[in-house]
Symmetry: C2
Subunit: 414 residues, 2 copies
């Protein structure tokens, strides 16, 4: 039966169709019955496309066709995708998606509609591309209290940082290369400023702790201000720089979550995750640390997760899979990052020529810091790592320090 | 309701009880109803144990108690465990297990009994301890054609090899240390000779390709003959030595599977998996390479997987989860390893003093080989890597070479 539709015939959509059709025979064996893609919905024309006969422009054709059991929403964004998903679920059609923005902002509502209509809203492709992480976290690790989830969740920024660290390219040059290779979009803001990684850590935290974490409550900083000087200081001290999303319990039923660049010890596995690869480390009280690694984006890797979800929906037709979280409207659920504790790498430029003169003041403000070195460090520059401090106090100290020096960089430690 | 029983109160059994009781409140929330451990079955006495009141010696108490919905079989072996599992499944009670030997030898039969009785036989704990791999492979990666699964599947041997490589300990000393630390058993045969890893790769291959792969058809060699000389040659050439299980399609609906030590390029992720950690690399035609990493054994890591399966069974009471494979009685399903192609590291001891004299004969037998070096290589020793050859031809060449030299070691390349 032709019971599948794909909405959005872009990179992920075409990958989904390609992978499904390639492995169709084996997929139908796994589902236990004949299945097929009936419609591909896109407003654009694709003259001469192999699957042109399946193309429709009107979403309602899919919505009103009783044959359609599952729809892959790979449009992205929270306008059409949100409206379409609600309508489909309300009709009892399962939806699978790679749309991290939609899951991170409307997940709880959409799960509830799916539950009420005995269908499913699955989102394995929304985090880590093809890396299996949603089901492992929800099922395999369900016996654990999750102590922390940390991940390199954005391939574009990891590619840029890898080029900066391994080949001493500047941020600007590395970004340009990422755009030329198709890893970064023309407007790279969502990747570079950490918004994409933020949506993903919100999804993982929502799943692990059972309540929706809205991205707007999560502090998020990107990599656009990292310089090769910072890379050099970090390297010399045995650290790589990675954009890391982290979520963990913060006591009293609250959680803390943050996305920011971090100095990661080179001995850790996360430090060796290079290029467009992603890795997610989950710490449970039973299992200890487990790591999931693979290509975090791309046509076929993401399609792998979408097709996996399609198969699961068709195997569980008319049965709701419990893979969801509750809504949470309490704005204090996510502890403000200023109340969390961190150790910070700081690079300063002294207003006066000799930065060494500032060392007594630095000790007074931060306590005992560790100074870092690099070849040809200018006299007006200092880089150091602070002790672990509450962020608000760190900020106060930095504000005072900024009276006599420019705060050129600050990067949290892992 | 007290609806869970644990059979076997050893390391994994006690870990299962400990982890469940610790996270009980959260676990019941996930299941959506009250659940609890009613019985722990073991023939031994545990006077003063915290859960002594739950201990029973008679298996039939569990079998005949209608409250019991799911049983964790963590006894091991294929005698009692097999009999108990069949009886429980036949009564419609789900069974979860860490028993890789039972799953690898009787999996297909037990899945069929579970299917007929609308209950489940889950085995996430049987491979990779707490590392989620069974569900990810079965569900998240279901859209892929699996091109290969390779893994470091035995923590004990990986610990021994790590000590040999990083600290130049001999095999015997490293084994003794592993035994003292509780990683290796008094009789280490199953670990050291690769039988444990073999059962695990059989389980992964059965799941990936849908038909039972019986361990007796899989060629299996262990690490007991690896010397520090081999480690040194490998290191100098940029390789680590790991015990690796591999399974992949071999064409015409057949598969190839093997467990053996391998020279692994140091640049690969598998080479950096040390100590008792396990890692499993899965290659799919959509997803590319994904890697799963974590503690492959131990009390709480394994319990993490057992408890995860208990939760899944209780969430799906009276619903069969499709996580299984068919039986396969065709002995030709697994291609004999002598028909597969490999490149081989070979170390020889020449009967005459100068091994260099053998080089023309080696070229004639194997074609162009790559010679390796180590500090203070004796005149009577040579080590080289052969081109990729059919194993049967490799064996013929080695047999001919053995007329003029002792074949001291042979290790396949990755």
């Amino acid at each position: 039966m032709q019971n599948i539709a794909v909405i959005g015939y872009g990179v992920v959509g075409s990958g989904t169709v390609e992978l499904f059709e390639k492995n169709k025979e084996e997929i139908c064996r796994k589902i236990g019955r004949d299945c097929g893609i009936k419609y591909i919905c896109d407003l654009r024309d694709f003259p001469g496309d192999k699957y042109e006969s399946k193309l429709v422009k009107d979403f309602n054709v899919i919505l009103n066709d009783d044959d359609i059991e599952v729809v892959a929403e790979v449009v992205g964004g929270v306008t059409f995708a949100y409206e379409y998903t609600k309508k489909l679920l309300a009709r009892g059609k399962s939806v699978v998606t790679s749309n991290k923005e939609l899951v991170a902002t409307h997940g709880a509502e959409l799960f509830e509609i799916a539950r009420q209509n005995n269908c499913n809203y699955l989102f394995e492709a929304s985090v880590g591309g093809g890396i299996p992480i949603i089901r492992p976290l929800n099922k395999c690790l369900a016996g654990n209290s999750i102590e922390q989830i940390s991940g390199i969740l954005n391939g574009t920024t990891n590619f840029i940082l890898t080029k900066m660290i391994r080949e001493q390219m500047t941020f600007e040059d590395a970004l340009k290369m990422a755009q030329e290779l198709g890893y970064a979009e023309a407007d790279p803001t969502a990747d570079v400023e950490g918004h994409d990684a933020c949506r993903k850590i919100c999804i993982l935290g929502s799943l692990a702790y059972g309540k929706q974490i809205y991205p707007q409550y999560v502090h998020c900083s990107g990599i656009s201000r990292i310089t090769l000087d910072d890379v050099e200081y970090a390297e010399n001290a045995g650290y790589g720089i990675k954009l890391v999303g982290t979520v963990k319990p913060a006591g009293n039923g609250r959680i803390s979550a943050i996305v920011c660049p971090r100095l990661v010890p080179k001995s850790s596995l996360l430090a060796s995750v290079d290029d467009v690869y992603n890795a997610i480390s989950v710490t449970g009280d039973g299992v200890g640390d487990v790591l999931f690694y693979g290509k975090g984006a791309g046509k076929l890797p993401t399609a792998s997760a979408v097709v996996g979800d399609i198969i699961d929906c068709l195997k569980h037709h008319d049965r709701h899979i419990m893979l969801d979280w509750e809504d949470c409207t309490d704005p204090s659920y996510v502890v403000p990052y200023k109340q969390t504790e961190n150790s910070m790498y700081v690079r300063i430029k002294a207003a006066d020529a000799d930065a060494e003169d500032l060392k007594p003041a630095i000790t007074e403000l931060f306590g005992k810091v560790m100074y870092l070195e690099r070849n040809g460090r200018p006299d007006d520059e200092l880089a150091f790592i602070t002790p672990v401090m509450v962020e608000a106090k760190l900020d106060d100290a930095l504000a005072k320090l900024s009276e006599s020096a420019e705060i050129a960089s600050k990067i949290r430690l892992m």
